[in-house]
């Protein structure tokens, strides 16, 4: 506008406007952008601390993709993360933040171990029983927070979080104490469980459990698109009062979604127990639940994004092993993880909100002479 003069010192106004609906492509791209920025920042910091980032990256690459074993290790690592992520993602459709997947994982593993150690049955039957036990263990672990949330509106983040610590101690009690393998003195775990998941054909360590997240992702994708239950869950997530108006039993849905989430996390524990570790150890999880939570929170509603994100995180964690040999402790990986998380969070933020740059309309009002 000719004749307008910006007021001295007035910055261009920037406004954030919320989008109601984000196209998946944009949302994915922006998150990847955030991720890349975070990685670049990490690289710079590593460089500054006297290490060669490209070399490290190269080593990580080689260790993971260079051979079959690296790939399988990463996939084994990815499995519990992905299943946990799916468990969280289901809850997130109703804005329920189940950060307790870690604890539910532990309890699922414990319940499955209980069955696997003390029940005698042919392998397929035993595996099914263990899976059921795992689901039950996980679901019962989330029961109290679920009831508290559905009926008394108690925030589920803190309640499920606290139970994580209890679960870890609980499993520790059993794996080092009550059920300890007395014969193998060095091992701080239970004896091997009665049944193991078969390996994928031709694999060295990769077990069939790796297929579960893929199956679950496909199943739930269709469930939320086409099923009545999925519709109701999404309506409750969108607006609980309108859902009530629609005749949906909101509190029962909250309960069922949370229990389902817990059950899946419990199965995740069982899968990792019978597929990967074979014994119940005190450290059966290496922050898989936390990673799963983060992956799910960042992937949004996209199951595909979830799979991609989970695999990436597995890669990141796997690289920790490599980085250790370069003199960095595994803790640095955690820190990198955190930086990546922030990077992607910023990306997520950018995709959900639209940046509107203030144009001329936001400058101070016009010249002293009023136009005719």
């Amino acid at each position: 506008m000719i004749g307008t003069r910006a007021e001295a010192g007035a910055p261009a106004r920037v406004r954030l406007e919320r989008r109601l609906h984000v196209e998946t492509r944009r949302s994915a791209l922006v998150r990847i952008a955030g991720l890349l920025v975070a990685l670049v920042v990490t690289g710079i910091l590593l460089q500054a601390s006297g290490r060669s980032a490209p070399t490290l990256a190269g080593e990580v690459f080689r260790a993971t993709f260079g051979g079959r074993f690296g790939l399988e290790e990463t996939a084994v690592l990815a499995t519990p993360i992905l299943i946990d992520a799916i468990a969280v993602a289901i809850g997130l459709r109703m804005h329920l933040w189940n950060i307790g997947v870690e604890g539910q994982f532990y309890m699922g593993a414990w319940a499955a171990a209980g069955v696997g150690l003390f029940v005698d049955a042919p392998r397929p039957v035993l595996l099914i029983l263990m899976a059921l036990a795992g689901a039950a263990g996980g679901a019962s672990w989330i029961l109290i927070p679920a009831i508290a949330r559905a009926y008394w509106n108690v925030n589920e983040i803190i309640t499920t979080l606290l139970l994580n610590f209890v679960a870890v101690s609980w499993v520790e009690w059993f794996s080092i104490g009550l059920w300890r393998d007395k014969e193998a003195a060095v091992v701080q775990a239970t004896p091997p469980v009665g049944a193991r998941l078969p390996l994928l054909p031709g694999s060295i360590i990769l077990h069939v459990g790796f297929l579960l997240p893929l199956v679950l992702a496909v199943v739930f994708f269709f469930v939320f698109r086409n099923s009545r239950w999925g519709f109701e869950v999404d309506m409750v997530g969108g607006n609980p009062r309108a859902a009530e108006f629609a005749g949906i039993a909101v509190r029962r849905r909250i309960l069922s979604v949370m229990l389902l989430s817990g059950a899946i996390a419990g199965v995740s524990g069982m899968v990792h127990l019978s597929g990967a570790t074979g014994r119940l150890q005190g450290t059966i999880s290496n922050a898989y639940g936390l990673s799963g939570f983060i992956v799910a929170a960042l992937a949004g509603a996209s199951f595909f994004g979830l799979l991609a994100g989970g695999l990436f995180i597995a890669l990141l964690l796997h690289s920790g092993i490599v980085l250790q040999s370069a003199g960095l402790s595994v803790y640095i990986v955690l820190a990198i993880y955190g930086v990546v998380l922030i990077g992607i969070s910023v990306g997520e933020m950018a995709s959900r909100y639209r940046l509107v740059l203030g144009g001329k309309r936001d400058l101070a009002s016009g010249p002293k002479e009023a136009p005719p």
Binding site: A148, L161, L162, F165, V166, S169, I294, L334, A335, G338
Partner: protein
Amino acid sequence: MRILLASLRTAIDAGTVVVLAGMGELVTERVGVLNLGQEGLIGIGAVAAVIVAEGVTSPWVALLAGMAAAGLLGFLFASSVVVVRTNQVLTGLAVVLIGVGLSNQLGNNYQGSPVVHRFVPFDIPLLADIPQIGPALFRHDVIVFLSYVALPVVVTFLLFRTRHGMNLRAVGENPAAADAAGINVTAMRLLYTSLGAALTGAGGAFLMLSFTHAWSPNVARGRGWVALAVVIFAAWRPSLLVFGALLFGAMISLGFIAQQQNWGIPSSVLSMLPYVVTLALIVLPPALGRFGVKVRSSVAPAALAQPYFREER
């Protein structure tokens, strides 16, 4: 009886970290921000204190270093959630990861070597001479006394007796109204989130300069998470927070005693106790409320964890 008194002493000491971190989070939440990163902030505060303590003679300097380091991380967190408006839950978790990761990495070299210049317990004259409970209550180091007595008084005064505190509470309840009243919502949130983080860092520093006074991995040991729970339990009131922290400390000290006295309860079980009790304290009041038993009303700052967007100006 002697055991009981000793446990009281330990409870007070153990609870100090929770008081500091809890008060830090209380202030942060009062201004409407949810900072889940307490674990990481405790770690950062601790490691900074340990590193600085090596080179100085005064524990106060180390304490300040811990507060500054945690305050800085807190400021980065605040910038992210208040200015850029990233999701507070995720960013808080990122703080945990960064804090725990960095502190463990840096603290590695200091593992096991005790801090030399630290805070020493002293007696409060007269009060410490009270038979039996005197030493238990009144023989502690200065940080403990400050945390349990001075800190809640200061925070209560700030929140309820000053104009500034009124503005602070307004921001947490209704940032739109506060903004309309001319209060700078962004500045308030940035300031108090950072200060809250610094306070949490003091808790971490305290661990190194008094309580355990030597580094070990994962030094916070879950106390950051308990601090979050205790804030809810205390209904965001400073005086109740102290009580909650003390309760938690009591749980920990029971654990120590059980081990010492060989009560036969495995340490795993005991370590569950604080969390179970905290959980009960959070779940029971609303549950009982539903059944007609009024325990206490717990009202969160209405705008907690919601980013504030001002409409077009």
